[in-house]
């Protein structure tokens, strides 16, 4: 009995995932296409910017400016891409993402502003800047060479999957297997100890926010490529959605725990659940309430899991 409970606690998210999937599959006529939609198209977008949030959360902070960073960088880049300077445009987009991340990081480490309010303030500033920059314009009808990034597929699998899996693998490698990643975790768990062990914690945190910015602009770029339009209000709900996915995935706000792997599960739960509600024909009005419940329940289960793990170790 105890063993079953332990198993359930350790793998409850996977169990939940399959439960949701089987419900939604049983009511749809084309479950395969449905799963394909979710995994190949819907999840990758959310995943990439959620990774950014996850990394920020691992350092013990959070990044509420993801959406506006995505909007600003893609809108700026779109001016170039529309003139068919695709590579330059992409480079500019990612650079702007990194630059805005740098600003966040500097505010947090050097000016010592709490990450919550720092990234929230930055969100306003950047969003304002992109509105001013676009002043009501939209940029659309990009060339196919650019759109193929998000639209194309290889061996029947969407490019989005390749891109997001590649990003996932790189991030997993960097954050699980390298000295840099290890130090990020240590810094998140206890910044002071890490600094007293000779880690340049400020630099690490800045780099993480830069990566987070780059991830935000990457996902923004993919949206632009997929939907063929760059506009100023892209990503208004990125921040809160990414936070929800990260929390459902089980990355703790205390920092130093969890990881992008968890967030994959968190994103899948979110996407599957949203889809499940849709195919079950549940009114959209219920969505918010259901999400709130899922976050509470997963946080409580996560806590139970921690207690159980501690209990086992004693």
């Amino acid at each position: 009995m105890k063993r079953i409970a332990g198993f359930a606690l350790n793998y409850y998210k996977i169990i939940l995932l399959f439960a949701i999937l089987s419900v939604s599959s049983s009511v749809t006529q084309d479950p395969l296409q449905n799963i394909k939609n979710m995994i190949m198209i819907q999840a990758p977008f959310v995943m990439i910017y959620s990774f950014g949030m996850t990394l920020a959360v691992i350092t013990g902070g959070l990044d509420l400016s993801l959406g506006s960073v995505a909007a600003f960088s893609t809108c700026a880049a779109a001016f170039l891409i529309i003139k068919d300077q695709i590579f330059l445009g992409i480079a500019v987009c990612l650079l702007i993402g990194a630059g805005l991340g740098l600003l966040n990081g500097l505010l947090i480490t050097k000016a010592k502003v709490n990450p919550f309010i720092a990234t929230y303030g930055m969100d306003w500033v950047i969003r304002g800047a992109v509105y001013i920059m676009m002043s009501g314009a939209m940029i659309y009808h990009f060339s196919n060479d650019f759109k193929i990034i998000a639209d194309g597929s290889f061996l029947g699998i969407s490019n989005l999957v390749y891109i997001s899996v590649a990003i996932l693998l790189i991030l997993m490698f960097v954050f699980q297997k390298t000295v840099f990643g290890r130090n990020v975790y240590s810094t998140g768990a206890n910044t002071k100890v890490s600094r007293l062990t000779g880690v340049n914690t400020d630099l690490l945190i800045i780099i993480v926010y830069m990566i987070s910015g780059v991830l935000a602009s990457t996902s923004g770029l993919l949206y632009v490529a997929r939907l063929d339009c760059a506009e100023a209000f892209l990503g208004k709900n990125f921040g809160l959605q990414a936070l929800a996915a990260t929390l459902i995935g089980g990355t703790s706000l205390q920092g130093g725990k969890g990881g992008v792997g968890n967030t994959v599960i968190g994103v899948l739960i979110m996407v599957f659940l949203m889809n499940c509600l849709n195919v079950l024909k549940v009114s959209t009005l219920w969505q918010d309430a259901v999400f709130g419940l899922v976050i509470v329940v997963s946080a409580l289960l996560e806590m139970a899991k921690q207690r159980y793990a501690n209990y086992l170790q004693l």
Partner: protein, 316 residues
């Protein structure tokens, strides 16, 4: 020197006299007006601001165009109304984000004796406390009716339909949904199977449509509360190869929506002509200030854009 100055003054005077005499509504010249919009970050509303400014220039009025920071926020609109009263504006052109919630602010305008020109969305005046001089009609219920009728025509009056909505609880969503629902109800063959929130956002519209295509394989009509979501839906429908089988309609008349119609992807949209709306409203304000009587309703030509007439709208 003195002479030169006199000449200068005379020239200046004659210019001003000339310009006044050229103005169609002399009573409006130099008057201060405020136009409150629902939003000033969205392209279509920025067009409206441009229209209003053009009109103000034509009629020699001073106009200030404002909007809430958070789009469609009623409370901020109330604050903007109060600011306009504080600035003692001569006339107010108001586009309420919430037709019920704006009522107390309009009451205040009435008390301050600032005439109100109602634009776009009707102020709910059931209580009789929110009087406006005229209503420049480009309201969403009419838009929704136009679009839904066109979609129903395309679908030969039968089939399953869904509505993609803006943020739940917002006035725009409520009105558009009502217009579409009422219209579809007139066709016994059309079954409205679902309404889904897609936040006025292209990406969300795309994602929700994917789910809807799975849930309702026989879907025939997608009514979208704005062009953004409609274009997201087009993308989703295109990917499953059902373009032409499913009829998609949007609202607003964005440039890229019309481009999409031209390509034969999006089926229809309602050209709300925000520029003209605002221009008409400011003109109505000028007429009122000039002492002319205004009709209760001033319709603005809302065009239903289809593949056949899209060239005309694109040229505008």
């Amino acid at each position: 020197m003195k002479k030169a100055f006199t000449v200068f003054l005379v020239v200046l005077f004659s210019i001003s006299v000339f310009s006044v005499s050229a103005a169609p509504y002399p009573g409006a010249v130099g008057k201060k007006a405020t136009l409150i919009l629902k939003d000033l970050t969205n392209p279509v509303w920025i067009q409206a601001a441009e229209g209003a400014k053009a009109a103000a220039k034509d009629f020699g009025m001073q106009i200030e165009v404002v909007a809430p920071i958070v789009s469609n926020n009623n409370d901020e609109q109330i604050q903007l109304v109060q600011q306009a009263i504080a600035k003692r504006k001569d006339i107010m052109i108001l586009t309420p984000a919430d037709s019920k919630g704006i009522v107390p602010a309009v009451t205040e305008l009435n008390k301050a004796k600032i005439p109100v020109i109602n634009l776009n969305t009707k102020i709910n005046n059931e209580s009789g406390r929110a009087n406006s001089e005229t209503f420049v009609v480009a309201d969403n219920i009419t838009c929704a009716t136009l679009c839904a009728t066109e979609l129903a025509r395309l679908a030969n009056g039968s089939g399953e339909a869904i509505i993609l909505q803006g943020p739940s609880g917002g006035q725009v969503t409520i009105d558009l949904t009502k217009g579409a629902e009422d219209t579809f109800a007139k066709y016994p063959g059309i079954k409205l199977v679902d309404k889904k929130e897609a936040k006025f956002d292209r990406a969300t519209g795309y994602k929700v449509t994917q789910d809807m295509l799975i849930t309702y394989p026989n879907l025939k009509i997608i009514f979208s509360c704005n062009d953004e979501m409609a274009l997201g839906a087009v993308k989703a429908v295109e990917e499953v190869g059902k373009l032409g089988k499913i009829f998609i309609g949007g609202i607003d008349g964005n440039k890229d929506a019309m481009a999409s119609i031209k390509e034969g992807k999006l089926n229809t949209t309602v050209f709300k002509n925000f520029w003209l709306q605002a221009y008409t409203a400011v003109e109505a304000a000028a007429k009122f200030l000039d002492g002319q009587k205004l009709p209760a309703l001033i319709p603005v030509d809302l065009g239903i854009v289809t593949k056949e007439n899209v060239e005309k709208y694109l040229a505008m």
